[in-house]
C-alpha cells in the first residue's frame, strides 16, 4: 500500500483550470469525519509482517505452506505472499492481526457495521467450498465469552494474473463483543496468493457534496471503478449551487467532478480510509 502523506484533509487534485479565477468551490464532508480510519496497522505490508502473526509457522514447511512478505505488490512495494500445497488445503493458512478486545480496548464500536477490503492476486486458488474458501482478507468478531464468531470475507479465487480489489459484506459489531481479528489467508484451498492494502473501516459513511461557483453545468460523483453514484445531469444555465447527500460504502475512493459553463472540468477526491 502506498503510504498516505496527506492526512486529515481532503486531497485536492489540482488541474490547470482549477486555479483560475472562477474555479468552483467543491466541498466534501462526511460522517464519520474524513479521512476515515483504517483499523489495520501495516495493512499494506510496507513494514513486511510487522503487526501480523503467523500461527504454527514452525510446522509450515512440513505441512506444505508458507506465509511471507513479498516484493510483488499491488500498491507500493510490499505485500504478503501465501502459498499452499494441495496437502495443506484443509485449513486456513494465514497471517492475523488482532483488532483488540472490544471491551475495553476496542477499535470497533457496537452497533456499527464494518467491512474489510484488500487487493489481491491469486493463482490456482478456488472458491468452490463456500464463502470462506478462497484467498484474500477476512474480518471476524467474537461474541461475548468467545462463544460465536461472525465473519465476512473479501475473498476471490484465481485472478488470471491480475491484481483485483475485493470488498466484503458489512459485518455488524454486536454489543458485548469479545474481540476482533483481521486475517490475510488462503483458506481451504491450495494455490498461491499475494494480498495487499488490507483495510478495515466502518462500512458506510454519509457523504455530503456541495459545489458553489458561477455557471455550474454538471456535477458527477463516481467511485474508483467509474460507477456513477450521482449525476446532476445538465443543470440550468447559470446554476451557482448544487448539493447532495449520499450514503456511500467506505471501501471505495470517490471523485466529485464539476463541469463549468466553459467546459472546464474540476475534481476533488473523497479519500480511502487511512491508518492513524
Amino acid at each position: 500500500m502506498r503510504r498516505v502523506l496527506l492526512l486529515g484533509t481532503v486531497i485536492l487534485l489540482a488541474s490547470v483550470t482549477c486555479c483560475r479565477a472562477g474555479t468552483p468551490e467543491i466541498t466534501i464532508s462526511s460522517t464519520p469525519a474524513l479521512p476515515m480510519e483504517n483499523l489495520v496497522q501495516n495493512g499494506g505490508f510496507e513494514d513486511d509482517l510487522k503487526g501480523w502473526a503467523v500461527a504454527n509457522v514452525d510446522k509450515a514447511q512440513e505441512e506444505g505452506w508458507k506465509v511471507e512478505a513479498s516484493a510483488e505488490a499491488g500498491i507500493g512495494t510490499r505485500a504478503i505472499h501465501i502459498a499452499v500445497e494441495p496437502k495443506a488445503r484443509n485449513k486456513s493458512r494465514n497471517a492475523y492481526q488482532s483488532l483488540g478486545s472490544l471491551f475495553p480496548a476496542h477499535k470497533l464500536l457496537p452497533g456499527q457495521s464494518y467491512l474489510v477490503s484488500c487487493r489481491m492476486k491469486a493463482s490456482g486458488v478456488n472458491t468452490q467450498g463456500g464463502e470462506y474458501c478462497g484467498a484474500g482478507a477476512s474480518l471476524s468478531i467474537w461474541s461475548a465469552g468467545y462463544k460465536d464468531t461472525s465473519s465476512v470475507w473479501a475473498f476471490s479465487g484465481d485472478t488470471a494474473g491480475k491484481w483485483i480489489k475485493v470488498i466484503s459484506k458489512p459485518l455488524l459489531c454486536p454489543e458485548g463483543g469479545a474481540g476482533a481479528q483481521v486475517v490475510a489467508a488462503i483458506s481451504y484451498t491450495a494455490g498461491e496468493a499475494w494480498i495487499d492494502d488490507i483495510v478495515v473501516s466502518e462500512a458506510y459513511a454519509d457523504m455530503s457534496v456541495s459545489v458553489h461557483g458561477s455557471g455550474i453545468l454538471q456535477v458527477l460523483v463516481a467511485d474508483e471503478n467509474g460507477r456513477i453514484i450521482d449525476d446532476s445531469g445538465r443543470l440550468s444555465t447559470g446554476a451557482k449551487d448544487y448539493s447532495k447527500s449520499l450514503k456511500v460504502i467506505s471501501a471505495y475512493r470517490y471523485t466529485v467532478k464539476v463541469v463549468d459553463k466553459d467546459g472546464n472540468i474540476y475534481q476533488k477526491d473523497y479519500p480511502l480510509p487511512v491508518e492513524k
Binding site: 453545468l217 454538471q218 463541469v259 467546459g263 472540468i265
Partner: protein
C-alpha cells in the same frame, strides 16, 4: 490497445537507424516509388489466369529489388493493380528460371510466397496479405491471422507462378478519417526459396514490415470513412477508449425514440468541443446525426428512430481530443426490428398464464432424450407425448439444428463438448420448426429454448446477438409458441439472466419469459415473467421437497406477485447422478398435487425418453409403467386445472395426521379438497375445515367412490403417497 502511428513511427525509425547497411544500399530518406490506381471497368475473374482483359487496363510495377535495396532480384516479379468500389485487385507474375525448385506448404511462409502490404492514409496501421503457390492465404491487420473475404487463385506455369487476389476494402484496415491522408502506403513483396531472396517493389531496408518505406499508391478513390465505420461496427471490442456509449435497449421495434448516453472519462477540458452521435446503417450510410454542445461528462440524448427501417445500426460517438487532430470514438450496435402482432395473446397475470384470455395450466415435458438416442426420435414420439395429455412441449437444443449448425463459430468455439453436440444435431431428424408445426396441428403449445447462442457468462458479441435475434424473430410469430425459456439452472448468473430476459422482451414483448433455477429465486426474481425450480426428490430426499420449494418460491416472490411460479418435476432416474430410479406412478402423482396444492401454476416434467430408452433402462431412467400412467395423471391435472387456477383458497383445513398435505379450493360453488399422503406408509386420518363446515357426501374424484362426512370430518385411508381429491358439489350439503 492500439499502437499509435506516432509510436510506431518512432519504433520504425529506431529500427531503421540500427539496421541501415553501410555498403551503399538504399537509404531511409530515399524517395518512395509511386503507383497510380486505375478503376476497373469490369472486375477481373480470379482464377490465376492473367489473360482476363480486365488486367489490360491495370497499373503495373516491376523491377523488384532485394529488400535491402542493394541490387535487383535475380528472379524478377511484375505486379498489377486495379480497383472498383468494393475491392482492390492485385496480380503477381513471379518469373522463375527453375520452376521445379518452387516450394510451398500448408504454412504460407514455408517456401515461396508473395506478400502485399496496404496502409490506407499512411497511418502505419497496415494490412498484410500473403499467398503461396498452393493458394494458402495469410491475412492480418499488422499481425495475427483474421477472418476475411479475400479471394485468391494461383497458377504455376513453365517459367513463372501467378497469383490473383481480390481484396474487399471492408477487410483492409481503414484509419479514422482524421488519422489518415489521401495516399496509401503499398508494397509488393516476394520470397523465393530457391534463391533465398526476399525482394520487393519498394525496398524496406529492414524486412518487409516497415510501413515508412512502403511505396505510394495514389488516386484510389475509396470511401474510407464508410469502410472505417463498418469496421468499427464489426470490431466493437477494439474501440474501448476514453468515451463510452450506451443505449436503453439493444433491439427497437415499436419505440419512437432511442435513449443514448455517452460518458466521457477524460479529465481534460470539454471547452469548445462538440460531441457527435450518429447512426450508420449496414451499408455505411449515416441515417441520424446529433451534435451535442456544450458537452457534459455524461450526455443523455433522445434520438428519433421512428422513421428508421429495420436493420442493424452502428451508433458512433465521436469527440475531438485536446490535440484537435484525433478523435475519440465509441461504438455500439443496435437493431431495429419489425414489430409483430401475434395470433394468440399470451400473458402472465396474477401468477397465472393466460392464452387468449383463458387460463392455461401448462403440463409441459422436456422433449429430449439421452444424448445417444436422439437419432431415434421422430414424429411418433411427438404423437405419443400429445396422446399422453401433455399440452406443452419443450424441445431441447438438438432440435434447433437449423439455427445452430453452421454457426459453431459463435456458440461452440470454446466448448470441448461441441463436436459431440454437432454430431447429435446432425443425427436428429426433427427440428424446432417441425415440432412447432406439429404442435399447431395437434393444438398443443411449445416453450422455445435456444441454448448456446445466448447462454454463457461472457458478454454477447454482435454475432451472437444477431444469431439469437434471428432465431427469436423466426419463431416468435408461430401460433404454437407459448413462452420463451431463457435459461436453465443458471442460478449464479443473475446479471446474465436479467440481460437475456431484457433481450427476449425487446425482441418479443408478446411472449412471457420463463427461467428455470435450482433455487436462487431471490437474486433472479427480476429476470423472468415465470420462474420455476426443479426439486428432484425421488431416491434422494423426502417428497415434501417439492412443496417446500413452492412455499419458498411464493414467499420470495410475494403472494401478490404478478409473476407465475412453475415446478419442474422428476420423471426420470439416473443412477450415475445419484437418482437410483424414476418415480413410480403414486410418487409422480403425489409430487404433482403437492406442487399444485402449494401454488405452482405450471408443471414441467423432466424428461421424455423414447421407447427404446424406456425398455433398455426400465425404472433406472423412465419406466414404461410411469410413462403409460402419465396419460391418466395428465387427465386428472386437466380436470383440476380451473379449480387450481381460478378457485378460491379455503383456509384452515387440517388433517388428523401431520403427514397429510391438504389444500382446498372453491370453484363454481364446488369445494375441492386435495389430500396428499407424503409418506410411503398407509395413513388413516380425518380432514376438517374450520372456515366452512363440510357435510354431506363427497365424491372422490378419479376413484369412482364416495365418502360420507361425519361431524364435518372426511375420514379416509391413504396408501403410501396416495392423493385423494374430494369434491363436495354445489347443493350437496356443504354449509358456507
Amino acid at each position: 490497445m492500439r499502437i499509435s502511428a506516432f509510436c510506431l513511427g518512432i519504433l520504425s525509425v529506431m529500427i531503421i537507424c540500427a539496421g541501415v547497411p553501410s555498403w551503399g544500399a538504399a537509404q531511409n530518406g530515399d524517395p518512395l516509388p509511386v503507383i497510380n490506381a486505375k478503376l476497373a471497368s469490369t472486375a477481373p475473374q480470379i482464377d490465376g489466369d492473367l489473360g482476363d482483359p480486365a488486367w489490360r487496363n491495370a497499373s503495373s510495377v516491376d523491377s523488384f529489388q532485394l529488400y535491402t535495396g542493394a541490387k535487383p532480384a535475380s528472379e524478377q516479379t511484375k505486379a498489377y493493380l486495379l480497383y472498383d468500389r468494393e475491392k482492390l485487385y492485385i496480380a503477381f507474375i513471379c518469373y522463375d528460371s527453375n520452376i521445379r525448385g518452387l516450394k510451398s506448404d500448408d504454412d504460407v511462409f514455408k517456401g515461396d510466397t508473395v506478400e502485399l502490404f496496404l496502409d490506407p492514409g499512411r497511418s502505419f496501421e497496415y494490412t498484410h496479405v500473403a499467398v503461396n503457390p498452393r493458394g494458402k492465404v495469410y491475412f492480418a491487420w499488422q499481425i495475427g491471422d483474421r477472418k476475411n473475404d479475400v479471394k485468391t487463385a494461383t497458377k504455376v506455369i513453365d517459367d513463372r507462378w501467378q497469383v490473383e487476389m481480390a481484396i474487399p476494402f471492408k477487410d483492409i484496415k481503414m484509419p479514422g478519417v482524421k488519422a489518415g491522408g489521401v495516399d496509401w502506403g503499398i508494397n509488393l513483396c516476394r520470397t523465393a526459396s530457391r534463391t533465398k531472396e526476399a525482394s520487393c517493389w519498394s525496398p524496406t531496408l529492414i524486412g518487409f514490415h516497415n510501413p515508412g518505406r512502403f511505396g505510394v499508391l495514389k488516386g484510389l478513390n475509396v470511401d474510407q470513412e464508410k469502410f472505417h465505420t463498418l469496421q468499427l461496427a464489426a470490431d466493437e471490442s477494439a474501440y474501448k477508449g476514453p468515451i463510452s456509449i450506451e443505449t436503453d435497449r439493444t433491439f427497437y421495434s415499436r419505440e419512437g425514440a432511442m435513449s443514448v448516453s455517452v460518458s466521457i472519462a477524460s479529465g481534460g477540458t470539454l471547452a469548445g468541443k462538440t460531441l457527435s452521435i450518429k447512426a450508420v446503417d449496414e451499408t455505411g450510410k449515416t441515417r441520424l446525426v446529433r451534435q451535442v454542445k456544450p458537452v457534459l461528462l455524461t450526455n443523455s440524448e433522445q434520438l428519433d428512430i421512428s422513421s428508421l427501417p429495420a436493420g442493424r445500426y452502428t451508433l458512433i460517438a465521436s469527440l475531438p481530443n485536446t490535440d484537435g487532430g484525433t478523435v475519440s470514438e465509441a461504438a455500439r450496435i443496435v437493431y431495429k426490428v419489425s414489430a409483430h402482432k401475434p395470433l394468440h395473446s399470451t400473458v402472465v397475470r396474477n401468477g397465472i398464464l393466460y392464452v387468449d384470455d383463458k387460463p392455461y395450466l401448462p403440463i409441459a415435458i422436456y422433449f429430449g432424450a439421452r444424448w445417444d438416442k436422439y437419432k431415434v426420435l421422430n414424429a411418433k414420439d411427438i404423437d405419443d407425448i400429445i396422446a399422453k395429455g401433455f399440452n406443452t412441449i419443450i424441445p431441447v437444443w438438438p432440435f434447433y439444428k437449423e439455427d445452430l449448425l453452421g454457426r459453431e463459430d459463435i456458440w461452440a468455439s470454446k466448448d470441448s463438448a461441441a463436436a459431440s453436440r454437432v454430431q447429435i444435431m446432425k443425427e436428429t431428424s426433427l427440428t424446432a420448426q417441425s415440432i412447432l408445426d406439429t404442435a399447431e396441428k395437434k393444438h398443443v403449445k411449445v416453450a422455445g429454448w435456444m441454448p448456446y447462442i445466448w447462454s454463457g457468462q461472457e458478454e454477447l458479441s454482435s454475432a451472437r446477438l444477431e444469431a439469437g435475434m434471428k432465431t427469436i424473430l423466426k419463431y416468435r410469430e408461430h401460433p404454437a409458441m407459448l413462452v420463451w425459456m431463457s435459461n436453465d439452472e443458471t442460478d449464479g448468473w443473475p446479471k446474465v439472466n436479467k440481460r437475456l430476459y431484457d433481450l427476449y422482451k425487446e425482441l418479443d414483448p408478446d411472449h412471457p419469459v420463463w427461467l428455470n433455477l435450482i433455487g436462487a429465486l431471490a437474486s433472479n426474481r427480476e429476470a423472468a415473467d415465470i420462474l420455476s425450480t426443479d426439486p428432484y426428490p425421488i431416491g434422494k430426499a423426502p417428497i415434501t421437497k417439492v412443496s417446500a420449494h413452492v412455499d419458498t418460491a411464493r414467499e420470495i416472490l410475494g403472494k401478490n406477485s404478478q409473476q407465475s411460479f412453475w415446478t419442474v418435476l422428476q420423471m426420470f432416474g439416473s443412477p450415475p447422478e445419484g437418482w437410483p430410479r424414476c418415480p413410480n406412478p403414486a410418487e409422480e402423482r403425489c409430487m404433482t398435487f403437492l406442487a399444485l396444492n402449494h401454488g405452482s401454476r405450471g408443471l414441467a416434467y423432466f424428461a421424455y425418453a423414447p421407447e427404446v430408452s424406456r425398455q433398455e433402462g426400465g425404472d433406472k431412467w423412465l419406466s414404461e409403467e410411469l410413462w403409460k400412467y402419465m396419460a391418466e395423471l395428465n387427465r386428472q391435472i386437466q380436470e383440476m386445472s380451473l379449480p387450481y387456477l381460478l378457485g378460491k383458497d379455503i383456509k384452515d383445513i387440517s388433517g388428523t395426521d401431520k403427514e397429510l398435505d391438504i389444500a382446498a379450493r372453491e370453484y363454481e360453488g364446488n369445494v375441492y379438497v386435495i389430500v396428499c399422503n407424503t409418506t410411503d406408509k398407509e395413513v388413516k386420518a380425518g380432514i376438517s375445515c374450520t372456515e366452512q363446515k363440510l357435510s354431506g357426501e363427497a365424491e372422490v374424484l378419479f376413484e369412482d367412490r364416495k365418502v360420507i362426512l361425519q361431524n364435518g370430518l372426511i375420514n379416509d385411508i391413504f396408501s403410501g403417497y396416495a392423493v385423494h381429491i374430494y369434491v363436495l358439489r354445489k347443493g350437496d350439503g356443504s354449509e358456507k
